[in-house]
């Protein structure tokens, strides 16, 4: 009846240092967001507007995709549609081959993580260098990001020192500022030598044919301004109608993600450099790759379509009490936290990690802070229903189904329900009186020590059934009331 849990969750729960790192880092982001939101007297209005804009855009997505494409093409850029990871990799490799490219610099993009782009490029002898500090560290360590916005959240400075010594051959350096300088120097060489710069896009602006890229380090600016070729990769859901809509989205994004009013650099890039206008630097070639990779399937599901509204701020991760315990690597895919929990089953199919939609107490903290008002608990409940239906068809949840059928059967029959209560009292063990004197059950006798009861008792004490139920006590009370005092 209980799901089989991935080992990673248990490992993370057992690692006190990691637990502390995750909780503290997310806690900081929670406070920062709160401070950053406070001065916005129209914060709730902004969320409503952002939700409405995303809804409208997705409901008219073909129009906006074509509009973006027309503008980009008119300005000398090119739009490439990609069905999946292979289409993206094939395209980039063909561009690289044509130009004899050897080095690619990449700025942070969850979309490229989604499709394992680096691995595919490296397989073809193209050096693909992550340039966001946290992502670069992980690339050196051959690890996946831990958090949408803070990828190296789980690494200490000593971990970083080890990685640098091992992979860069530098002398061991544990001072964070100096580690950052090492990164600056190494990556600067790559920026200046790179043939192609690859970026993501936080937003694709339809009326401008532009990509909007939000960052703090400057690596996206460098990746998109120094190399002669810029390839931006974005999921098709990144479209927004107008440049003016950035007023709403930019006001929400950085505040929700890191507690900044605006991140350090917000780039609005529309095509290759304007040679006619005399622009001296910037790429000669600009490509926007629009990726499906299953998004059209999510789009078709009206009930859960809002899952595509996500602007990748990471606020839901920071506020999720489950994420704050199990960390990013406990999730099966690159997208973790509440957003990961709802999109992973939709992209991969619920048969892959059917436990994932259930790994939530449905507390709703995520929905409360989502800048685009995705009702994550609602989607989780839909997914749970789908998992149960699928398991029902396969016949893999016979016991659980029986248990809930029995539950429903009893709950429709008040007298049977009362009898069931009496039966439970007959078998319940005596509480082992702990020092708290609360009189709760600490251990279960062998026969009862199974399933949900055992799971409960593994973590906390169990309340004994009350000697008399409420309805028994109520009847006494009303009986006494009718008989009058003493």
């Amino acid at each position: 009846m209980l799901n089989v849990l991935p080992n990673k969750i248990g490992e993370t729960l057992g690692n006190a240092e990691l637990q502390s790192a995750i909780y503290t880092a997310t806690g900081r982001l929670v406070s920062k967001r709160k401070e950053a939101i406070a001065p916005l007297d129209d914060y709730q209005e902004l969320r409503t507007r952002a939700n409405a804009l995303k809804k409208h855009t997705l409901e008219n997505l073909d129009y906006y995709l074509e509009q973006a494409e027309a503008h980009i093409t008119a300005r000398g850029g090119k739009v490439i549609y990609a069905r999946d990871a292979n289409d993206v990799a094939d395209f980039i490799l063909s561009v690289a081959k044509e130009r004899g490219a050897k080095i690619v610099v990449k700025s942070k993009s969850m979309t490229t993580e989604e499709i394992d782009l680096n691995e595919r490029l490296e397989h073809h002898q193209l050096e693909a260098v992550e340039t966001d500090l946290g992502e670069w560290i992980l690339q050196l360590a051959h690890e996946k990001p831990y958090h949408i916005v803070a990828p190296a959240l789980h690494k200490t400075r000593y971990d970083v020192a080890d990685i640098f010594t091992k992979r860069l051959g530098v002398e061991r350096e544990t001072v964070v500022e100096k580690q950052t300088l090492i990164a600056r120097g190494r990556l600067r060489e790559k920026f200046l030598a790179a043939d192609i710069g690859i970026s993501g896009a936080n937003f694709v602006v339809a009326d401008s044919g532009a990509v909007c890229i939000v960052e703090n380090e400057g690596n996206a600016r460098l990746s998109t301004s120094v190399p002669k070729v810029h390839i931006a990769i974005a999921g098709i859901e990144k479209l927004i109608p107008r440049a003016q809509d950035l007023g709403v989205f930019l006001k929400l994004l950085a505040r929700s993600a890191t507690g900044q009013a605006l991140s350090v650099y917000t780039s609005f890039l529309s095509g290759p450099r304007r040679v006619d206008a005399g622009e001296i630097d910037g790429p000669d070639e600009f490509y926007l790759v629009l990726l499906d990779n299953g998004r059209t399937r999510l789009l078709a599901d009206v009930e859960k379509r809002e899952s595509l509204y996500c602007i990748r701020c990471g606020a839901c991760l920071n506020h999720c009490p489950v994420f704050r315990k199990i960390g990013g690597h406990s999730y099966p895919w690159v997208y973790s936290g509440p957003i990961g929990a709802i999109i992973t089953p939709q992209f991969a199919g619920i048969q892959h990690d059917p436990w994932l939609p259930f790994a939530s107490s449905l507390c709703g903290a995520c929905a409360e802070v989502c800048p685009v008002k995705i009702d994550i608990p609602h989607v989780l409940l839909e997914l749970r229903r789908e998992v149960v239906e699928a398991k029902g068809r396969e016949g893999t949840n016979r016991w659980e189904k029986l248990a809930f059928r029995a539950y429903a059967w009893v709950m429709r029959r008040p007298r049977l329900y009362e009898l069931a209560g009496l039966a439970a009292r007959a078998v319940a063990p005596d509480p082992e009186y702990g020092s708290s004197g609360a009189g709760w059950i600490r251990k279960l006798p062998g026969l009862l020590n199974h399933g949900p009861a055992a799971a409960w008792v593994s973590q906390r004490d169990l309340p004994p059934p009350a000697p008399r139920t409420f309805r028994q006590m109520w009847r006494d009370r009303q009986g006494n009331a009718h008989n009058g005092p003493g």
Binding site: S361, E368, R384, V388, F404, R460, P465, R477
Partner: protein, 241 residues
């Protein structure tokens, strides 16, 4: 005014924490309500609904609707059960199903206990005395689905001798989440322990909430840790004198 109030005590209170139900009845009568207890009541269907078993949840919901359909005011010592009935039961029926209409008509008549006292009876002082240092846990469904945050605090503020200290993690989930507490017991236990650390920092000897499921989770963890801190339902605090 003498309102007719029907109690929906919830299955967990009925079976495990009956004193909470009695305390709630006492307080309601003290404020002048006529209280009744529809005997046919059992459960709201939430366990099945949250576990993905819609058909089973629907069948339990139908029974609930039948038992309570003629009640003017239904008062509940639980945020999660109240929101199950008011927010989710209407959704599990198809539009056009007369049951959906029935559920929608009933939804405005069901109240979480603290909301009923403060917003329907317009009462915040029920004459209670409870001389303890107390901290308050915001249960998730109450806070986020029903938007209940001030009502319990207003009521606690009027309890004589009660010293309320807010914990820094007041709004963080206790980790119960229904079957989540057993399906993901390790995570659930971890969440409870984090919550308890926050409670301990307040120096309170009592944690109060409006949801018995949260209190069960917290008391279970407190008891396991050998802590003297006790949990109490708001109703029990308000019934104290």
């Amino acid at each position: 005014m003498s309102l007719r109030v029907s109690l929906f005590v919830t299955c967990i209170v009925d079976q495990l924490f009956p004193k909470v139900g009695l305390a709630m009845a006492d307080v309601l009568e003290r404020t002048g309500c006529k209280v009744d207890f529809p005997e046919g009541q059992t459960c709201c269907g939430q366990p099945a609904f949250n576990s993905g078993y819609r058909d089973e949840a629907r069948s339990v919901a139908c029974h609930f609707l039948d038992v309570f359909q003629d009640c003017e005011y239904i008062v509940v010592p639980s945020g999660s059960c109240t929101s199950m009935v008011s927010h989710h039961i209407p959704e599990i029926f198809e539009p056009g199903d007369p049951r959906q209409k029935q559920a929608q008509t009933l939804a405005p008549r069901i109240y979480e206990f603290s909301r009923f006292l403060t917003e329907v009876l317009n009462v915040d002082d029920v004459g209670a005395r409870f001389e303890h240092r107390v901290t308050y846990h915001d249960s998730c469904h109450a806070l986020r689905e029903l938007k209940i945050k001030d009502a319990p605090r207003r009521l606690l503020a009027k309890v004589r001798g009660l010293d309320l200290h807010e914990m820094d993690a007041a709004e963080e989930c206790c980790g119960f989440g229904g079957t989540f507490s057993v399906k993901f017991a390790g995570v659930s236990g971890g969440m409870a322990r984090t919550k308890i650390e926050s409670i301990e920092r307040t120096g309170a000897d009592t944690v109060v909430s409006i949801d018995s499921s949260c209190l069960m989770q917290l008391q279970g963890a407190l008891s396991r840790a050998g802590s003297p801190i006790r949990t109490m339902h708001l109703a029990e605090v308000l019934a104290s004198s």
